[in-house]
Every structure is written in structure tokens, then in C-alpha cells.
Symmetry: C2
Amino acid sequence: MRNIKLVLAYDGGDFNGWQVQPGLPTIQGSLAEAILRMSGEQVLPRGSGRTDAGVHALGQVASFTTGSPIPVPNILVALNDLLPASIRVLEVQEAPAEFHPRRSARAKTYRYRMYREAICPPFLARYVCHHPYALEEGAMQEAARLVVGEHDFTSFAAVDAERAERMRQAQENADEDAPNNVRRIFSSAFSREAAELIYTVRGNGFLHHMVRNLVGLFLLVGKGTVAADEVRRVLQARDRSANPGATAPASGLYLVSVEYG
Amino acid sequence: MRNIKLVLAYDGGDFNGWQVQPGLPTIQGSLAEAILRMSGEQVLPRGSGRTDAGVHALGQVASFTTGSPIPVPNILVALNDLLPASIRVLEVQEAPAEFHPRRSARAKTYRYRMYREAICPPFLARYVCHHPYALEEGAMQEAARLVVGEHDFTSFAAVDAERAERMRQAQENADEDAPNNVRRIFSSAFSREAAELIYTVRGNGFLHHMVRNLVGLFLLVGKGTVAADEVRRVLQARDRSANPGATAPASGLYLVSVEYG
């Protein structure tokens, strides 16, 4: 059996997230269907991680095993012919048998796009979070720096009901490690690109909703509701209810890339 | 009564075109609903012309009459609050009573975007026509120049069944002039912007499907199926069946602007 590694881009607005769900359009489900039509093999491709409904990817990594001898360049063309236009395979390569998109990952980068002008162009509505109100961008930058390093990110994890469900699924599913909320953040910063304020974060892993919950707290810092150094206290609390921020909308979030050793 | 002029941008991919249709999302219908919720008045806004399902606008012009004293800047804010994010009001002004978005128009500009690389980014799939195959762009430029001037564009009009229906509607509807297929084209040219080949055309008016049918013929010229100067013969035939081109997909077409005297 060959282990095929894919790099994917997708418009998350068309899908109910990565993970396959009966009767709903998902990235994993669409990919499984395209592989079935290409090779006749029923496989569930593995991803580097789940993305939620509405979250986009510029470089998600997935893999699947196949007994088919179809050459790598033909896999790229065939899958792009069979997938909807909102999912594109950017790269295909044959990986060692032990390669696993999530377990082998060393780092991931996410980006969050905020459109800052009064009127958001209709062509960007699906691809950004529209935030036209005043923000202290300097304070947000200061807050963003405080999450760099190794921390327990429980205060930025998804709320309990969702986490409990994910822990249950992780225990059921041999493919998943039991949750542990310590993660190392290598970089965390805001930048400006024309009308957009962009948050970019790179780390060795991310909890469910973690980037959107970080952005939610940074927005409160930007509004002046919370001081930048409150981020330290929120981290130390290890409790989602100690974080006054809301989960920022999915439309602004992109999985940019996944790095391997 | 005040005559309110609006400049609109919209993502046509979310709508069944401009014209109101019972039970289907349309630009005109969404705008009528937003006006009703804003002022309590039931009016059908007029547009500078219909756009088809999937066709986008950067600067569509519409107008409606109102007895409400609501100030112009508040109309902009209120309509953008009430409209879906895929339709934005960019400008509002009070126009003279005799202003009519279609009858008063002196010129319109359309743009058609073709994405030329092998893999079309999923975030552009709704906003371009993907054409990764070889094209003789010089021949297309030559063909585009041949439609400049005053011509009978019957060979580029929508096919008969649709035209017959539009003529019937025009006769029923006092707001429409009887069709006449002579139009003046002021400029018609291709340009390159990074991975995109863009056709831009400015004229005093356009028939239903005219820009998409022009692009369809220019694509055959680009492929070498038809010589550039065949455009002259097709124009002279005044017959859609003399035009071997297909109607290019709606997703690449934008109404860029409407000019008034």
C-alpha cells in the first residue's frame, strides 16, 4: 500500500467543517468520495486537524493509503477533476508509511483576517471578519506577544460541552491522542495589509477554537475593555470562564500551513 | 416624493439574478425587502439593467422613490444593516425626479475575468471563469477591437426563446423600451493582471447575454478555431446561429459601472 500525502486549499464557507458527517457536505467526506471515484477504494483520509464549519485552508495536509498504481501527477489532476471547485489539491507526494498528517506535524500556522473599513466588499464577506469599529492595535500587538512560549491553553479551549464531546470521541477513536492542553506558541503577532488587520500565529499545536478564542480576547484588548497584560491572568486561570472574550467568527480564520520534520 | 439613487456592489453567486422572482433570492427582491423594513414602504427598486444569476456587480445603479424624510447618510447605514453581506450599498444620493437608472444611463462598463493558471484557488472559483488551456491572446485582442463602433449585435444576443420572452415582457411592461439590437461600443480590449486575462468593454448599452457571447466568440479566436476577422462576418450576419461561440459562464462577469450625463 502507498501512503499519499496531499496539500489542500479550501473555501470553508461551503462545508460543515473537515470531519465527515452523514448527509452534510464536509471536506473529509468530499475527499473520500473523490478518492472512491478515482480508485474504487473506500478510505477515510486523515487530516492534520479538523477545521470547523466556515474555516478556510490555504495549506491543510491530508493523507490516504491506496493500492492503486496511479502516478502522483495523475492523482493531482484526477482529484481536482472530481472535487468541487471550492476544494483544490495543490500538491501530491508519496510519503513514508509512518507519515501521519497530525502526529508527524511539528508546527502549524493560522491566520485571522479582520476587515477594518466601514463597508466590507461583498466579495470578501465570506473570507474575513468585518470589524469596522475603533481598535487600539498597539495594545492588541502587546497582548498577542504574551501568548508566545509554552502554556496551558485551557482558558482558550472550546467550551465544556464541545470539549467533553471531543474527549469522548478521542477515547473512542484510536486515531486520536487524549487531550492535553499544553501547547508551545513560536510566534504570535498582528500585521496590517491595506484595509485588513491580520493576526498570524505559529505553534506546535492548537486546541479546538483556540485561535478564535485568542482573537476574541485580543479584540476586547483592542476595544479597551481588557488591559493587554490581563492575557497573563487569563492564561494562568486555566479555565475558559476566566476568559471574557467571545469566540471570533469562523469566516476570518485560515489554516495557512503545516510543517513536518 | 424623493428619488433616491443607490450604487450597489454584489456577489451574484448568492442570487438568482437582479430581477425579483417569487420564492427565489434576487438582488431586486432583497433590496425591496430592506427598503420595506427601513421605511415601511413597498416599492420595487429600478435597476440600470438586469444581471443574470451568478453575475456580479461592482457598481450597479438603482433607484427608488420614498416619502420618508430619512437623511441620505442614514439610508446607507440602514440598508447595509438590513441587506445580506453579499449586497452592499456603496453610495446614496438624492436624484432629480426624472432620473431613471436605465433610461438616463449614457454608458456602462463590464469586465470578464478569466483565470489562466492550472489550479484555480478555491477562493476565486465563484469570481472568475477558469480557463487554463492555451489561448492566442494577441488574436483575441485583435478580435475584441473589431466590435468597437456602432453595430447591430443580434448575433451576440441571447438565444431566441429567451429573447422572445424578454420582448413579451418589454411589451407588457411600460418601464421597458421595445428591444432594438443596435449598440455603440466605445472600447473593447483584453488586459493581463497577474494570473488573469481580463476583458473590459464599455458601451452605450448591452443586449441580454451580449458580453458573455462576445467572450464566447473571443475564446474560439484564442483557441484558433475561428480567425479574428471572422468577428466582422458574425456581426454582419445579425443572427445568433451565425456565432459559433458558446455563452461564457456567468461567474466571470462583472457590471463595473454605469455612467450618467
